[in-house]
């Protein structure tokens, strides 16, 4: 699919500031790696490839996010969202709203459940599988967590160089900790299998999907998970057979996925939290004065929202000013349809011979 935003977005994109933000983000992450691993003392040099890729991908995501915020509509929501959130006297309630939205939208994902139950399960498995995996692997890669032996069987984890509790290396907790990535891999594989099944059999999905955007992310996640499980299998049951080859393949797949993050489907991972701002915006909008349709008088949107929307439409270079000075957006959607119908019905002059 081609981009729809050729009208204004290509003309006034500022690449300079997003580049600066991206480079700054990469620099900050690099600094955190150095600090968190205590001047690279606990840094595992075998994971250097992952680190470089993560630092580059983080910068790329920040760059992409900054470019995204330049869309007139996105910028309007971003500014108004923060303005409403930081409104003095309401900040306590806003935190409450945000917490509720995070719980229902981002954690529970009730809206996906409403779309389809199997889709919800699929997304739940993939999302939590990936989140747990990332929460384990990134701190390990950056040297923020490392383990040290204490005594014969004691393992002590260190976070940013600060000691945490010890655990028995042969105990259940240790077994669960060391195999956590195997469990998350199974979650991701199950979720991706559900997703691919839907994409192979659902007529609507078949019509709309594209290989690069819809299949490749699932295939990459499956490949990462399978190669990760192969590492466990190799070390546990095959005495390290082909371990370095599998390890290199795993690394290559992870790096490919990291570089894929700013594009296509995976970008929703960083984009989706914006729904917290949109929800807050809509909640406030419901409390504010409502705009009435110029024709039928029904309250159909808040005045603030409609004002922001008209500003965005103007910025995009449209001029929907009607003869009476009002904008087309001052009419509710149904009246827009009827206005058009009336304009059509008014075309034929009754005295004219039409046919």
């Amino acid at each position: 699919m081609e981009g729809s935003g050729s009208r204004s977005i290509s003309t006034d994109v500022d690449y300079f500031r997003p580049t600066v933000y991206g480079l700054a983000a990469s620099a900050v992450l690099t600094l955190l790696v150095v600090v968190g691993s205590r001047s690279l003392l606990h840094y595992d040099s075998a994971l250097f490839g992952y680190t470089v890729a993560s630092v580059a991908a983080f910068g790329a995501i920040v760059f992409r996010y900054a470019i995204w915020l330049q869309r007139p509509a996105t910028r309007a929501y971003w500014r108004r969202g923060w303005q409403l959130f930081l409104d003095r006297g309401r900040i306590g309630g806003n935190f409450g709203t945000a917490a509720k939205t995070i719980a229902t939208n981002l954690l529970e994902q009730r809206f996906i459940f409403k779309r389809s139950r199997s889709r919800w399960l699929m997304h739940l498995l993939i999302m939590w599988g990936c989140i747990f995996s990332a929460a384990i692997t990134f701190p390990l890669v950056f040297g923020w967590i490392h383990f040290e032996l204490e005594g014969a069987r004691g393992y002590r984890a260190y976070l940013f160089g600060f000691p945490l509790q010890t655990m028995d290396g042969r105990g259940l907790l240790a077994w669960l900790t060391f195999h956590a990535l195997d469990f998350t891999a199974l979650m991701v594989i199950a979720g991706c299998a559900l997703a691919i099944h839907r994409r192979l059999y659902d007529r609507g999905a078949i019509a709309l999907q594209q290989f690069l955007l819809d299949f490749v992310p699932h295939l990459l996640l499956i490949a990462i998970s399978v190669s990760g499980l192969m590492l466990t299998a190799s070390s546990l049951w095959f005495e390290g057979y082909m371990y370095s080859f599998i390890s290199l393949s795993h690394q290559a797949l992870v790096i490919m996925t990291l570089f894929f993050l700013p594009f296509g489907k995976l970008f929703h991972i960083v984009q989706r939290p914006a729904s917290i701002g949109v929800e807050l915006y809509q909640q406030r909008a419901r409390e504010l004065p409502q705009a009435k349709c110029r024709r039928c008088g029904v309250e159909f949107a808040s005045e603030m929202w409609l004002g922001d929307l008209k500003e965005v439409v103007d910025k995009l270079g449209f001029d929907y000013t009607m003869a009476g000075g009002e904008k087309l957006q001052d009419y509710c959607p149904r009246c827009k349809r009827i206005l058009r119908g009336l304009a059509y019905a008014g075309l034929a002059d009754k005295t004219d011979r039409v046919f």
Partner: protein, 214 residues
């Protein structure tokens, strides 16, 4: 020439076959994305069928903060991408034709995508395949236009804004575009004991047609 839709409102008899058939489309299963609106029920039986006109520069896509609405290589403006749509409803209120629908519980916008599951396989959209009067037709310009005495037009002027579309409207006159301006007539709300009640026309249409919520 590419196939597209030709909408001829004067042929519409308001049977709503299209509304029922639209629900069968696989890309928005169970939900109809087409509208059949009464114009002025006290004056005329005329109805206006509205599908997405698939603008060449879609306002809905440009006002989308999530960049979720994409146009494909055939010029068909698609429903919002499901992972991206934030349910902000900018598109619902920005569309000059009043077309996009939304569902708050699903956090989702959907709209007519010209039955992409069917048209991409050479079939007609559901609405065009069931319309008994040819008010909604699907085909190439060369196929449809010689059959009609009405004039195909794909430009609307809304106030000062010209909007060109992939879908054609069949005009009974020789105009080159259709101009939409001004307030139009509204039947008004019937006041009972000074209390404004729902307008008579509102009792005649489906809930989804009033609010665009599916």
């Amino acid at each position: 020439m590419q196939e597209t839709m030709f909408i001829d409102p004067q042929r519409c008899i308001g049977c709503r076959s299209c509304v029922a058939a639209c629900r069968e489309c696989s890309t928005h299963k169970g939900y109809s994305m087409i509208y059949v609106d009464y114009l002025d029920r006290s004056e005329t039986t005329a109805t206006m069928p509205t599908v997405c006109m698939h603008c060449t520069e879609p306002t809905c896509a440009l006002v989308c903060p999530a960049d979720a609405i994409k146009m494909n290589e055939d010029g068909v403006v698609m429903s919002a991408l499901k992972p991206r749509c934030l349910d902000c409803r900018n598109c619902v209120n920005a569309c000059p034709f009043g077309v996009p629908k939304y569902n708050s519980e699903m956090h989702l916008q959907m709209k007519c995508d010209m039955c992409y599951d069917r048209t991409s396989e050479g079939l007609k959209p559901m609405c065009a395949s069931v319309c008994p009067t040819g008010a909604i037709s699907f085909g190439t310009y060369e196929q449809i236009v010689p059959l009609r005495r009405t004039k195909p037009v794909n430009a609307h002027i809304f106030g000062n804004q010209k909007v060109e579309t992939k879908v054609y409207l069949m005009l009974p006159t020789d105009e080159r575009e259709i101009r939409v301006d001004g307030c139009g007539v509204f039947e008004g709300r019937v006041a009972v004991d000074g209390e404004p009640t729902e307008s008579w026309i509102d009792t005649q249409v489906e809930e989804t047609d009033k609010s665009n919520e599916f």
